[in-house]
C-alpha cells in the first residue's frame, strides 16, 4: 500500500513538472518529428510501475501494448488521481498528456471534461495512428468509468 501511495504522489509531482516544463514546448513545436519526441519525453517523465504493480487487474484491455492504469479517489479532498504506465512510449506520452489535464480534479470538474478531446490538444490527434486511438479509447473508457462517469 505504501508502494502505491508513493507512486501516486510521485506521479502527481511529475505531472506538475511536465505541465510547467514540457507542455509549453509541445504547443510551440510544429513538425511531427519533434512533437513525437516531446511526447515520448513526457512519458519518460512519468514514474514507471514497479514489477509488483504491473498487475493483470490493472491492465487495460484493448491496448495493443500492455498498459496499466491505477486510480485513487482521495476521500478527504474528493479528488481523483491516476498513475499510468505502458510498454509503449507513444501511448505513455499521450496518456501523460491526458493526466496533465485530469489528475487532481473533483468529480464535478471531471464531468466538464470532454474526454474525446483529451488528445486533440496541440493538433496532435490527426497525427495519431489508429491502434493508438483504439488504445486511447480503452484508456478513456477506463478513466471515465473509474471517475464514475460511466457504468
Amino acid at each position: 500500500m505504501s508502494n502505491l501511495t508513493l507512486l501516486m504522489s510521485q506521479t502527481e509531482q511529475a505531472l506538475q513538472n511536465i505541465k510547467q516544463q514540457q507542455l509549453p514546448l509541445l504547443t510551440q513545436t510544429t513538425d511531427w518529428q519533434s512533437k513525437y519526441r516531446i511526447l515520448m519525453q513526457l512519458g519518460k517523465g512519468l514514474p514507471s510501475f514497479s514489477p509488483e504493480l504491473q498487475r493483470d487487474e490493472l491492465l487495460i484491455a484493448g491496448c495493443d501494448s500492455k498498459a496499466w492504469l491505477l486510480h485513487e479517489f482521495d476521500q478527504d479532498s474528493s479528488r481523483h488521481y491516476w498513475a499510468f504506465d505502458s510498454e509503449a512510449r507513444i501511448i505513455k506520452g499521450l496518456v501523460t498528456l491526458a493526466l496533465c489535464q485530469l489528475n487532481g480534479l473533483s468529480a464535478s470538474e471531471l464531468t466538464q471534461i470532454n474526454f474525446q478531446q483529451l488528445f486533440a490538444l496541440q493538433g496532435l490527434q490527426q497525427n495519431l495512428s489508429p491502434s493508438r486511438q483504439n488504445g486511447l479509447h480503452a484508456v478513456i473508457k477506463t478513466l471515465s468509468m473509474q471517475a464514475g462517469l460511466l457504468d
Binding site: W32, Q33, Y36, R37, M40, D64, S65, K66, E87, A88, R89, I90, I91, N127, L128, S129, P130, S131, R132
Partner: protein, 404 residues
C-alpha cells in the same frame, strides 16, 4: 522475363485513390484488381438471382456463373474434380469446418491431432476447443532456434500416430515457407490425414493439389486479390465425405422431415444456406485475372523487393530481424532493439507506410520466440522498388526519432 509493373499496378484503383500511401500490409488483406470489382458489379447488375433451385433461366444463369466459378477454382488448384471445391466464408470458417467435422467421424477420444507452434490462431483455437470437447489430444510441433518447424520433432510426434496433421504452408508472421510437400508425405506414411492452411501460401505459386497430395487445403479470397467473405475448402472427395457438416440448411439438404433428414451430395452437402454468390464470382475473376500474368515474373519481382527490403533493413543499426530471407514468401518481421513494436508502427503510419504490429494472431509463435510482438512488412507484386526505398528511409526516420 519482363514484368510490366506499371501495367500491373494500374489494375488497382486503390493506389490512384491513395497515392501517398505505401501499403505493406498485404498479408492482412490484398487490394483488388478492376476485374474483381467489375465481376461483382456485373453479377449484381445483370445476373443477380439465387442459385440452384430457381425454376427460371435467371437462376440458371446465376447458377452457371457460380458453378463455373467453382470450376475456375478447381482448375486453379488442380483438383481432381469440381466436387472437391467447397465454398466457405474464408480460411477461418474452413478450418473450423475441419476441426468440427472430423470430430467423432475421424477423431475419437484419445486420438491425437498435430499442429505447429507457427500456426495462425485460426488453425489453433478451433482444434483447442473441439479437441477438448471430444477428449482428443492436441500436440504441437516446436520451432528450431531459427524459427523454423523442427522436422526432427515433427517425426518424433508423428510416431505418436496422430490421426490429423494440420500445418500452415507459410508463417503469416515470418513469411517462412514450410516444407509442406515433404510433411504431407511423412504424415501420410504415418497414417494421418493432412490439412494445409494455405491462407498465406496460396500466393506462392499456383497450388497443385494432385501434386501436393494433401487431404485438405484452405484459403481466403481476400488474401489472393479476391473479395471478402469468400474462401475455399479443398478436400479430396473421400475425405470430404468424412466431414460432419458444420452448417445445416439450404442446398445441403436432400430431404427433411421431422423424423429425419438426408443430406445432399458433395459439394452441396457442406454448403448450407445461400452462398456468397457474388463473392465466388469475384474470387474466380481474381484467379482468372492473376493467371493472365507471367507467374514466374511476378514471383521474381516480389523476391527482388524482398531482397531489397531485407538487405536494407540489415544495414540499419539496432534492427532485429525475426524473419530469414531465404525460403521467404515476402514477409519480414522485425523489431527495433529496446523499442516497442507499436511505437515503430505508429511512427511508420505517421509517414504513411501501412504495416502491422503486434502478435498477428499468432501468439504461440511469439511465445516460442520469447517476444511479445513485432512489426510486419508484407509485400505484394504491386509494390515497387521506390516504395521499398521510401520504407527504408521511413524506418531510418523512426530510428532517429526513437533514439534522438
Amino acid at each position: 522475363m519482363n514484368f510490366d509493373l506499371a501495367a500491373f499496378r494500374a489494375e488497382f484503383a486503390f493506389f490512384d485513390q491513395n497515392p501517398d500511401w505505401v501499403y505493406l500490409d498485404n498479408a492482412a488483406t490484398m487490394h483488388k484488381p478492376a476485374a474483381v470489382v467489375a465481376a461483382e458489379t456485373e453479377f449484381y447488375q445483370k445476373f443477380n438471382a439465387n442459385v440452384h433451385r430457381g425454376a427460371h433461366q435467371l437462376s440458371q444463369q446465376a447458377t452457371q456463373l457460380f458453378e463455373q466459378s467453382r470450376d475456375t477454382v478447381a482448375a486453379y488448384v488442380n483438383a481432381r474434380s469440381r466436387e472437391e471445391i467447397i465454398w466457405c466464408s474464408g480460411a477461418t470458417a474452413a478450418l473450423n469446418q475441419l476441426a468440427f467435422g472430423l470430430m467423432g467421424s475421424v477423431l475419437q477420444p484419445g486420438d491425437r491431432v498435430l499442429i505447429s507452434a507457427m500456426e495462425h490462431h485460426a488453425n489453433i483455437v478451433p482444434w483447442q476447443f473441439h479437441c477438448q470437447q471430444h477428449g482428443v489430444q492436441l500436440d504441437v510441433i516446436p520451432l528450431t532456434v531459427n524459427h523454423q518447424l523442427d522436422l526432427a520433432e515433427f517425426k518424433r510426434l508423428l510416431a505418436l500416430k496422430p490421426k490429423v496433421v494440420s500445418v500452415t504452408q507459410v508463417s503469416n508472421v515470418l513469411g517462412h515457407i514450410q516444407p509442406v510437400a515433404e510433411m504431407v508425405q511423412l504424415a501420410k506414411a504415418a497414417g494421418a490425414l493432412t490439412i494445409i492452411d494455405g491462407a498465406q501460401g496460396v500466393l506462392l505459386q499456383q497450388p497443385d493439389m494432385q501434386q501436393l497430395d494433401c487431404d485438405f487445403y484452405v484459403f481466403s479470397g481476400h488474401k489472393i486479390y479476391g473479395p471478402t467473405g469468400i474462401g475455399v475448402l479443398y478436400g479430396r472427395q473421400e475425405t470430404l465425405e468424412l466431414l460432419k457438416p458444420l452448417l445445416y440448411g439450404g442446398e445441403m439438404i436432400q430431404q427433411v422431415s421431422f423424423s429425419g433428414t438426408t443430406l445432399n451430395q458433395l459439394p452441396y452437402r457442406l454448403e448450407a444456406g445461400t452462398p456468397n454468390i457474388a463473392g465466388a464470382v469475384g474470387l474466380a475473376a481474381a484467379l482468372r485475372w492473376l493467371q493472365q500474368w507471367d507467374q514466374s515474373a511476378i514471383a521474381l519481382h516480389k523476391q527482388q523487393l524482398l531482397k531489397q527490403l531485407y538487405e536494407g533493413l540489415a544495414q540499419l543499426p539496432g534492427i532485429e530481424l525475426l524473419s530469414q530471407s531465404s525460403k521467404n514468401a515476402g514477409i519480414i518481421a522485425f523489431n527495433i532493439e529496446g523499442e516497442h513494436h507499436s511505437d515503430v508502427a505508429a511512427l511508420l503510419d505517421q509517414q504513411q507506410i501501412a504495416v502491422r504490429a503486434g502478435s498477428h494472431c499468432a501468439m504461440p509463435l511469439f511465445a516460442a520466440m520469447h517476444k511479445n510482438g513485432a512489426v510486419r512488412l508484407s509485400l505484394a507484386p504491386y509494390n515497387t522498388e521506390q516504395e521499398i526505398v521510401r520504407t527504408l528511409l521511413a524506418i531510418k526516420q523512426v530510428l532517429e526519432i526513437l533514439h534522438g
